[in-house]
Amino acid sequence: MLAVQILIDGFAISALYGLGAVGFTLMFGVSGVLNLAHGATMVVAAVAAWVVAGQLAASPWMAAVAGTAAGVITAFATYFLVVRPIQRSKSVPAAEKEIFVLTGTLLWGIMIQETVAYFYTDNPKSVQPLIAGVMQIGGVRTPINELLIAVICWAVIGLLWLLVHRSKAGKVLLAASINPRALTLLGFELSRVYLSVWAIYGVLAGIAGVLLATFLGASSAQASQLTASAFSIVVLGGLGSVAGSLLAAYVVGYLETLTAYLISPTYRSMPALVLLVIVLYVRPRGLLGRR
């Protein structure tokens, strides 16, 4: 009984973590950018969905679409206003681009967060579940929405996998993550590749944000927390490794759920952090990391 419960709850939350982290890691893998405005992007999507659903009284599905769109827009804004200027800047020494992109996106994230808080307060917002109601699984009452979320997450991740491994465009992304210079020599414009990555990233972060809003509710105050969790999951799994991030997401998800059930909700996030530290010291490149 308890086992089933842990199994089910852990599954949904982990799937959500996974979706949140996949975009983040894809972004790093292909364009080498760690986007610290990640959490803010998710929050924007969540709040956008909430506004469309609440203020404009649209259907949850409409809201979801709107939220995702908001995610994409935010992603592009981040790229064009912050990341690209830094990457192209001649005055920033190449060795320090990383720290500048980190600082830049960090500040940008704070700006987004403050804007959201200004217009919609930093209270958590929640969107109506796409499908309401509950069902019994192995004697455990589970909200259908929770299952739906898991399904959607996996569907999206599956689609992403197909896109990357089966489509021409995806191959180019993959190639860019392995050897961008070679891609240039083969006549592909990296700038376009990066653009498409940011688009994909926006969609992923957007969907994750919307689902978060339907599941747990999202608040602008959570932005940095969301970034941190995505960051640690990605590092745990290995920077740039999508599979690793998914694995890590489930490790973290279940670790948290187990702790919450068996020890106490208060200690929820601790074991995951400790694990992260251990992995960092013992195997810095993460569980499935290549570099």
Partner: protein, 493 residues
């Protein structure tokens, strides 16, 4: 001043040194000695393992086997800073000075004790630094920032740092790279002084020629192994060395004279490239006509790769590069590649984690499906090996197969001009044969124009319609292959 002379016990003694990187054996059972006041030249083409040996001595890598004795003490496996304190100084080829400090401070750095409590520099460190600076000829620029120095002076500064601690053993990586002939002379004098000081000196370079004048003995490496040792003459005379650098006897099959068109396909007019302070290309002018096969021969570091990267728009340059009469400046590298100039780089740049087929398909994405399929078939006929390996992951291919894939991938783009940079790099003769045949087929069965960069003359000559010789960033000779042996080969090695 230590007493020179070969009788003295060796200061540097390398014994059966071996280093493996994964599967690749970078250095295999290397053994040599350098006595006080002796200068040993360690030569070999790229990937021969000479740099690895140097790094092993310095402790930047930990050897798998063998020993390194400095004045009788085995330092193999020590951390670099302890080896340095044991009496080894190194002059890196690419210096990374402290840009915010003056030349003097940079030199002082070499004199500082490795001690956290020494927060105040004492007088004599200053004086010592000055002396050294004077000695290497930096007296005039003591208080300038490195960024304002000429390239040669930067090298001088590196030299000064290396000898600051008065080391027993000095390692110098490519002592003369990027220097003008005048500067070369000056540097030779400086290094020669080490002999007088009774230091043991190890010069690491690509070929005998550049260091012949200076070195007492030469130790030649190829594919991680010792291939020859002895005086400069002996080594240059050594058949193995000649085969490595020149291949066997130079083939001078004459080719039918071509009728050059009025406007060449690719025309390069006094193109210069600077890497920081280093002159990588100096007013180079070449042209390639439609359907022509042009070889640029020159030793590693002569500037071939730089020239090709300039053509591909990968490095900023001065001068003019025109393609079909129109200037290439301002076009993105990708656009240039799509425009028909496809480079197959020295480093191969394969997508290591992708299969052979995936690598080729990526290049084929610009073509219509039907075209791509046809091109693929043709390439598989050209390199049957690749057809067998179609599903294999590129990383796991042998060196030769990787090179074939690299070439095939470039051809997949149906280039008008194929730029081949060092396709023979570190490859076994058998593979060279196959690649050579492939090129021959290309040449005879397709309208393709080829620009080949090589240090291996025998590989470069047979297919070529015209040869350029690039030396120290300059074109020093141009002509038909038939005349090369007579006019250029002698000075080449």
């Amino acid at each position: 001043m230590r007493a020179p002379g070969t009788a003295a016990a060796p200061l540097l003694e390398v014994q059966g040194l071996t280093k493996r990187f994964g599967g690749l054996v970078a250095a295999k059972n290397i053994t040599f000695q350098v006595r006080p006041g002796e200068i040993l030249g360690l030569i070999g083409p790229n990937g021969s393992g000479k740099s690895t040996v140097m790094q092993l001595i310095m402790g930047l890598h930990r050897p798998n086997a063998g020993s390194v004795h400095i004045a009788g003490v085995d330092v193999a496996g020590w951390p670099p800073h302890r080896i340095a304190r044991q009496g080894v100084g190194i002059v890196f080829q690419h210096s990374r000075p402290l840009h915010r400090q003056t030349v003097l401070e940079n030199i002082m750095l070499g004199l500082l004790p490795d001690n956290l409590l020494k927060v105040i520099t004492n007088r004599h460190v200053h004086d010592k630094a000055r002396q050294i600076a004077e000695r290497v000829g930096l007296g005039g620029v003591l208080n300038r920032k490195p960024s304002s120095l000429a390239f040669a002076d930067l090298r001088r500064m590196e030299l000064a740092k290396a000898i600051a601690r008065d080391p027993l053993v000095v390692l110098v990586d490519e002592p003369f790279a990027g220097l003008t002939s005048g500067e070369v002379a000056a540097f030779s004098r400086l290094i020669a002084e080490f002999r007088r000081d009774g230091r043991a000196v190890l010069l690491v370079d690509h070929n005998v020629k550049s260091i012949a004048a200076l070195a007492d003995r030469i130790f030649a490496m190829y594919l991680g192994e010792r291939i020859a040792e002895g005086t400069a003459e002996e080594v240059t005379g050594d058949p193995t060395v000649r085969r490595v650098y020149l291949g066997g006897g130079i083939d001078v099959a004459s080719r039918p004279a071509r009728t050059a068109r009025s406007t060449p396909l690719l025309e390069i007019q006094d193109v210069s490239v600077l890497y920081g302070k280093a002159q990588a290309l100096d007013r180079v002018a070449i042209h390639v006509d439609e359907g022509e096969f042009v070889s640029i021969v020159g030793l590693n570091g002569a500037g071939k790769t730089t020239l090709f990267n300039a053509i591909s728009g990968l490095v900023p340059y001065s001068g003019r590069i025109s393609w079909n009469g129109s200037d290439l400046r301002g076009r993105s590298p990708a656009a240039i590649a799509r425009g028909g100039i496809v480079q197959c780089p020295e480093t191969r740049e394969l997508f290591g984690d992708m299969s052979v087929r995936e690598n080729l398909d990526l290049a084929g994405q610009h073509l219509a499906a039907a075209q791509a399929a046809q091109q693929l078939k043709w390439l598989f006929d050209l390199f049957p090996r690749l057809r067998d390996r179609e599903r294999q992951i590129a990383r796991t291919l042998s060196g030769g197969e990787q090179q074939m894939l690299a070439i095939a991938r470039s051809l997949m783009m149906r280039p008008k001009l194929l730029i081949l940079d060092e396709p023979t790099l570190g490859l076994a003769p058998l593979i060279l044969e196959q690649i050579s045949n492939a090129l021959e087929q290309l040449r005879s069965n397709t309208p393709i124009t080829v620009l080949l960069g090589e240090q291996n003359v025998t590989f470069a000559l047979p297919h070529a319609d015209r040869i350029y010789v690039l030396e120290h960033a300059r074109i020093v000779w141009e002509g038909a292959p038939s005349r090369f042996a007579a006019e250029a080969a002698a000075t080449y090695l």
